[in-house]
């Protein structure tokens, strides 16, 4: 793992801490509300991986775009979907970011540069090339980021997307969040390579392993890869080694993971790791503010009307 990166200014540290904490508290709250029966469907949660979404999105401009996966809550909040709109979407309310038609696995909003999350593993890896191609054709300096898991690296879509992006030098950063398990399947049982980043060599692009539990390391790698993409130097594959602190989805009791493995990764929790370098009053203030934001989001979602059955058959066609 890379050493902790050189520290940015206090404002940046506070912003990163706030965003990671926002995601963590959003996810913990959502889990509780799901168990209480307030939130329908299922959840694929992001606790433990916050440093990746936050570090990468902090390197982006509001006009840059991201694609996401079936585990999109963290990406959505990090890119700027409001906690209210995200929470209401999980509740199936008309005020949700997708008007209740997307749900947990399709959070997103084009207004903040995020396609509705694509919940088929590997789907973003080809679709993102179209974002990059549009930027290139329009001679814009926007950049697209594709978030995906290590599981997606075994999809054909991964290969096709990576190769096409590389050969056309598209302004894309591929961010692999290697949380070691695709559902219950350990990556070392489905890949002879230890590092997904090594696959970059097959496409003639740079690949880099990043400590995904260190938001500063992720941000530093993100800044570099985004700058390279923006400058016309083509895509980079960043593999962020990380760990989900919870099950794959809500029905997962995690019987396939050893307790000591979970414990060792929780010791590297990116949130306390960053809090340790923040001034106490600043951290405490952020924590109070985040609690209020989450409380407000829940109240907003609860008070919002259910998605209207009259709308169930609209938005199929433009």
């Amino acid at each position: 793992m890379a050493a902790v990166a050189e520290q940015p200014d206090e404002g940046t540290l506070a912003r990163l801490y706030r965003q990671m904490l926002l995601i963590r508290r959003f996810e913990e709250t959502v889990y509780y509300l799901f168990l209480e029966g307030e939130i329908p469907g299922t959840l694929h949660q992001y606790q433990g991986q916050e440093a990746v979404a936050v570090g990468i999105c902090d390197a982006l401009r509001p006009t840059d775009w991201i694609t996401s996966t079936h585990r999109p809550h963290g990406h959505a909040l990090a890119k700027g979907v409001t906690p209210r709109a995200a929470m209401a979407e999980l509740y199936g309310k008309s005020t949700g970011c997708c008007a209740g038609k997307g749900g947990s696995m399709h959070l997103g909003d084009p207004a903040v540069g995020m396609l509705p999350a694509l919940a088929i593993v590997g789907a973003g890896n080809t679709v993102v090339t179209g974002l990059g191609l549009a930027f290139a054709l329009r001679r814009s300096d926007q950049v697209a980021v594709c978030f995906f898991g290590e599981g997606a690296s075994n999809e054909g879509a991964f290969h096709e997307g990576m190769n096409f992006a590389a050969v056309r030098r598209l302004p894309i950063v591929f961010v692999c969040e290697n949380n070691l398990y695709g559902a219950s399947t350990s990556f070392d049982t489905v890949s002879a390579l230890v590092d997904v980043a090594d696959r970059a060599a097959a496409y003639g692009i740079p690949g880099r392993v990043v400590d995904g539990m260190d938001v500063l390391a992720v941000r530093e790698a993100g800044v570099e890869a985004v700058a390279s993409a923006r400058a016309g130097d083509g895509p980079t594959l960043l593999e962020c080694k990380t760990y989900r602190f919870v099950g794959h989805s809500r029905s997962d009791a995690r019987g396939y993971r050893a307790d000591d493995e979970e414990a060792s990764w929780k010791e590297r929790d990116p949130i306390p790791r960053l809090r340790a370098v923040l001034a106490e009053p600043a951290a405490a203030a952020i924590e109070r503010e985040v609690e209020a934001v989450i409380e407000d989001a829940v109240e907003f979602a609860r008070a919002s009307p259910d998605a209207d059955p009259q709308e169930a058959r609209t938005d199929v066609y433009a």
């Binding site: 974002l131 096709e160 190769n163 938005d315 433009a318």
Partner: protein, 344 residues
């Protein structure tokens, strides 16, 4: 008023090329993406439709891809989501199965699952039809896509409608699957199309043909026959023979769009004739003809004077040998036999 310029006779291939060039001139967001479409010294796409376009539009807007169908469709989806208007090319419609996820899970659903915030204005062109190439280069898979809410499905059979519909498809804010029949391009001349004249009158001035509107190709009082692509021409040939030999007058309708289907035009005909036959080269079971038949039964049962009949390729993978292929796809004789049975 200006005097309209005279029409010319164009093949479907030529008409499609004109449509693409006009739309690319009109809108900088229109671009082409596919395999072997703009290669210098290449063949301008599998059926030559793109020949000459790189000289006018350059290679930025004609994106030659690796043999990566998922990327062709996926890149089209992503670019379209940002407001570009890709015309994607699948060399053979059989290859669409390589990118079913991008078309069915992504293109068709992004608008809905975003709550109407994202549109996907892409066109996917795909040649269909059996041409002695066997089971993996001879399918007519349009029915798979008729089943997908969020897609539009167009099937063109002549140069006039091909040009006007392709221009409409490019301007449509939804994903449009645009199916063309290999034997109808006209690039190989009349011989390969069984002696058909594959040219049609195409005006010089610009025009559009609306998506979702059928056209009556031959008026008749006795039997309504709905058919697309090469099957349409077999139906027209059968109709001419039946009129001469039996005095049976078929009303032949080219639906042009399968999704959404112009039931208004078809039902109006059916209510006059009381008989409905659907003919397509796609296989029978679960083919789009079944949907037309089911809807006719639901909406027009008491107007029917005979059972609805479907004529389609038999339910086998497409064989290669000419004698076998001819035994599978709808022939003029099969069409005539079924229609005679309806009259009896």
């Amino acid at each position: 008023m200006s005097t309209p310029e005279p029409s010319r006779r164009l093949t479907i291939g030529e008409a499609l090329r004109e449509a693409i060039a006009e739309e690319m001139r009109r809108d900088d967001d229109v671009f082409l993406i596919g395999e072997d479409i703009g290669i210098e010294g290449g063949f301008g796409g599998a059926f030559g439709v793109y020949l000459g376009l790189p000289e006018e539009f350059g290679h930025d807007r004609i994106v030659d891809t690796p043999i990566s169908e998922k990327v062709i469709a996926g890149a089209a989806v992503g670019a379209a989501a940002l407001g570009m208007r890709p015309i994607a090319d699948m060399q053979y419609s059989d290859f669409l199965f390589e990118c079913m996820d991008e078309l069915v899970n992504q293109a068709a659903k992004l608008r809905y699952m975003s709550g109407g915030k994202v549109s996907v204005p892409l066109v996917m062109r795909a040649p269909v039809g059996a041409t002695n190439r066997g089971a993996q280069h001879g399918q007519s898979p349009e029915s798979y896509f008729v089943h997908v809410p969020g897609l539009k499905v167009v099937c063109v059979s002549d140069a006039y409608h091909a040009k006007g519909l392709l221009k409409s498809a490019v301007r449509d804010d939804n994903p449009v699957l645009f199916f063309e029949h290999k034997l109808l391009y006209g690039s190989k001349g009349r011989e390969q199309a069984g002696g058909l004249d594959l040219t049609a009158e195409v005006p010089q001035e610009e025009y559009l043909v609306p998506i979702g509107k059928a056209v009556v190709k031959r008026p008749g009082r006795d039997v309504t026959v709905v058919a697309t692509h090469l099957a349409l021409y077999r139906v027209l040939a059968a109709a001419a023979e039946l009129a001469a030999e039996d005095g049976i007058e078929c009303e032949v309708i080219d639906p042009l769009t399968l999704l959404p289907l112009d039931t208004e035009t078809i039902w109006a005909s059916l209510r006059r004739t009381g008989r409905l036959v659907i003919v397509h080269e796609d296989t029978l079971t679960g083919g789009w003809g079944a949907e037309v038949a089911a809807r006719a039964a639901e909406e027009c049962l008491f107007d029917l004077e005979a059972p609805i009949r479907r004529i389609a390729s038999y339910d086998v993978p497409m064989p290669s040998a000419p004698s076998l292929e001819d035994a599978i796809v709808p022939s003029v004789e099969r069409i005539k036999t079924v229609i005679r049975e309806l009259r009896d």
